[in-house]
Assembly symmetry: C2
Homo-oligomer: 186 residues x 2
Amino acid sequence: MYRQLRDHIEKISPLTDQEYDLVCAQFEYRKFRKHQYLTQVGEPVKYHYFVLSGLLKLVFTTENGKQHIVSFAAEDWWESDFYAFFTKTMATMSLECIEDTEVLCLSLDGYRYLCATFHKMEHFFLEKANYGFIGAQRRIISSLTSDAKERFEQLQKQYPFLIQRIPKSLIAAYLGVSRETLSRLY
Amino acid sequence: MYRQLRDHIEKISPLTDQEYDLVCAQFEYRKFRKHQYLTQVGEPVKYHYFVLSGLLKLVFTTENGKQHIVSFAAEDWWESDFYAFFTKTMATMSLECIEDTEVLCLSLDGYRYLCATFHKMEHFFLEKANYGFIGAQRRIISSLTSDAKERFEQLQKQYPFLIQRIPKSLIAAYLGVSRETLSRLY
């Protein structure tokens, strides 16, 4: 079941059929429509999400109501408000569908069970976490050193398929520029 | 040996004496003077560093020679140019001492050996990586949503001891503001 999840995990950690059955049993399939929320600010964050299809945005909203996009998540990406998920605190970010989206949901108990039971799964999540950290660090460098044009070109180069699927207003909210500034870039 | 490293690891993963001896054997002690480089741009990044004492800065320098501080690392922190370390490519950031610094150096082979041999160590590094990612994500949110004053106050609140030890010019390079702007803040 969920061949896509198995293929994704096995790029890092090959599993036997029996192991994969136990891994798979920790995930719950859910389907959301465009504009639906997976998590909302102020509510508990029950799951770490693996995206099967569709597109999500992780959004931080400031007190004046301005939305900032912390990250996007498309097929084969993992997404959550990780601080709230791991510390069992309330969400400070919302996770919302940009397209109709199918996900596999992993609870914190499920995550802990997989890591404790299968050394291979702890290894898998460590590899993902290290590359997640590297990606976040690159974004910090980009925000410190690049102007809007350069940040847009980096996004375009890194995720060419995303640019086609995301409304311009959301790309602007990700780059931290106004819609007008973005319009001058493409 | 290196009681500090053992205490640090055992906050997450308790180890037997025998296990710790094997863990410890993967680390190499080194001492650097203020202003010395642990890694330089364009050179291989051989180690992941655990700081025993002192203070480091991880610096990204743009083509025009401007220095941006990606992170600081003090006692009990882990630091490296992680992308270069994990992918065995050349450093794009430099790691330099702000104070005389003692570190324990872990090679990529040593890191892989510890993770493969001890499920507990893979768990330890996963916990560190998850919290590293969360910290980086918070910095991204801060850069998207906060002005210089707010970013300075966040730094002051999060790491009060750092503010005392770091020259103002470096705090400005971390916050992404000019020295003059920072002077108006404290």
